[in-house]
């Protein structure tokens, strides 16, 4: 029994009606890269520019006040969506990557010294790897990695051993963008706190697809992107606990992040504005807020259940194709992501031939080169699902793979 009315949901996404090639309607299986946008989000942003556009936090005219209100309402709405107690804990960024970089620059440079340990995992997206590598080079900080098992799970025994190094930070993805693995975030965070570390969760793949509550998780920092949860590109979020954010130095300098500026010095603004220098992406924040309003009534539990059904079906179908090797754990431990290889064809060729049938998948290393090295494969083909994905689309994928086999077989 599927709790979602998929037919109604699909009508909310105009792009899903597009004919990609003559007679081939779009089969969009690339939502882990970016989700499609419902009319509601597109219209909210359009309405903002047509009716309310002004710069925020300064002007006293109607438009400026309205735009400021919309922007700050968006912040409150996002806070509520992830269970944050205080809207000041929500910092708008460009994307997950910028949110993680903000923590690396601001918290990292203020709190880490040579020899300090940061624990990451082998399944990180480059966005939760390279900022720490940069910091490690600059500060001689030591990076350690929780290994990934052959099944695509984090090796929790090894994690416990690494915690004996007294790390200052444990930063990890809640859901792998390649393996689909949903990591036991609550347990990882609890163990990190017991060891005296603070925690950062890369929620780029989890926040759009499963219920995430920052208070239940007790996470210190959570980063995610609007565009993977039906919102616009160019909008991301950093959640941080008030006590941490207040002690952190600013990230970028400029307008809006200051309380007072003299010729040779400045006094920073309070949070969250301290971390939001310059004119922000107001329409994008409005769009993100509309995306939250779209997802909330459907319910993140229902969305997760729907994706579980689709991914279970996809694994079952793909496992029947000779030569297909699927990375990652079984359906009960993963979200709506299936990365695979096909013995006779390279992932690029697979993706190209699928495209000819209107099927959009991703091929490559999905910004996780070390993880692919771990499995000794240069690239995979990835199909990823969302709220609007159907079993029929999985069937199209399977038929498309039969075509690949016909060409390369």
């Amino acid at each position: 029994m599927n709790p979602l009315d998929i037919e109604a949901i699909r009508k909310d996404f105009p792009i899903l009606q597009r004919e990609i090639h003559p007679g081939k309607q779009l089969v969009y299986l690339d939502s882990a890269a970016t989700a499609q946008k419902p009319t509601r989000v597109i219209e909210a942003m359009d309405r903002y520019y047509r009716w309310s556009n002004a710069n925020i936090h300064r002007g006293v005219h109607v438009l400026a006040e309205e735009a400021t209100m919309l922007y700050e309402d968006a912040r409150r709405n996002v806070a509520g969506f992830i269970g944050a107690r205080d809207a000041r804990e929500i910092i708008f960024t460009r994307n997950t990557t910028e949110a993680i970089n903000l923590v690396a620059y601001s918290w990292g440079r203020a709190n880490l010294q040579a020899g300090d340990v940061i624990i990451l995992t082998e399944m990180e997206h480059h966005s939760n790897l390279v900022p720490w590598q940069m910091l490690a080079q600059e500060r001689q900080v030591r990076l350690e990695f929780i290994p990934v098992t052959d099944d695509g799970l984090l090796d929790m025994e090894e994690y416990q051993k690494l915690l004996m190094l007294a790390p200052k930070l444990v930063a990890f993805t809640q859901m792998s963008n390649v393996l689909g693995t949903i990591n036991p975030a609550g347990e990882i965070i609890r163990l990190a706190h017991d060891a005296g570390a603070i925690t950062l969760v890369d929620g780029a793949q989890s926040v759009p697809h499963i219920p995430v509550n920052v208070v239940d998780l007790d996470v210190d920092f959570l980063a995610f992107s609007a565009h993977k949860m039906c919102g616009p590109m160019g909008s991301g979020v950093l959640y941080g606990k008030t006590a941490l954010l207040e002690k952190m130095p600013p990230f970028l300098g400029g307008g809006d992040m200051i309380r007072k500026v003299m010729l040779r010095s400045y006094a920073p603004n309070s949070i969250p504005h301290k971390f939001e220098a310059g004119t922000p992406a107001v329409a994008e924040a409005v769009g993100l807020s509309a995306a939250v309003d779209y997802l909330k009534p459907i319910g993140m539990d229902a969305i997760a259940a729907h994706e579980h059904e689709i991914v279970s079906y996809a694994l079952e179908q793909l496992n029947q194709i000779p030569g297909v090797r699927i990375l990652g754990p079984d359906a009960d431990r993963k979200g709506g992501v299936v990365s695979f290889t096909l013995d006779i064809a390279h992932p690029h060729d697979v993706a190209q031939i699928l495209d000819r049938h209107g099927i959009a998948v991703r091929a490559g290393h999905h910004c996780a080169m070390p993880l692919h090295d771990r499995y000794q494969i240069p690239a995979t083909t990835r199909a990823s699902f969302y709220i609007y994905s159907t079993r029929e689309e999985v069937d199209h994928l399977v038929q498309g793979l039969e075509q690949v086999k016909a060409i390369f077989g």
Binding site: A345, H346, P347, H348, D349, Q352, I353, R356, A363, G364, H365, M369, H372, P378, A379, Q403, I407, F408
Partner: protein, 133 residues
């Protein structure tokens, strides 16, 4: 059914004539496409007149990149290094006989980039080697 996967492409991908390594060699160069991880190494032997007498490629990648490398090496046997320096993107696309979008173009051009960087004795295979006509 698919223009991109013409029989000649699939044939060169599945049964390449020039796959392997040459040891010793006069020229060798390798590089990868950082976007997709396609990796190609090309080894050449040339005679005293700078004419290519033997060529081989190794590495991994999609059908387009591998078939392109095989077709390219087939084409340059008997050519001088100077002639290879003159090769353009269009020459390679003519060999392949297919139209490519911007993403797959990079797959096709990797072998030409590697070849020209090797022949010029450069440290890296820059895009500028295969741009323009």
């Amino acid at each position: 059914m698919d223009d991109l996967y013409r029989e000649v492409i699939i044939e060169h991908y599945k049964n390449p004539g020039f796959r392997g390594e040459l040891d010793p060699h006069d020229i060798s160069f390798e590089d990868e496409n950082p976007l997709c991880g396609d990796h190609i190494r090309i080894d050449l032997r040339v005679n005293e007149n700078e004419v290519v007498t033997e060529a081989a490629f190794s590495g991994h990648g999609c059908a387009i990149s591998q078939a392109s490398a095989d077709l390219l090496l087939e084409f340059i046997i008997g050519k001088t290094l100077d002639e290879i320096r003159q090769l353009t993107k269009d020459d390679l696309l003519e060999l392949l006989g297919i139209e490519l979008g911007p993403v797959r173009l990079k797959c096709a051009l990797l072998s030409l980039k590697v070849l020209k960087a090797g022949v010029y004795g450069l440290g890296e295979a820059s895009d500028s080697l295969v741009e323009g006509d």
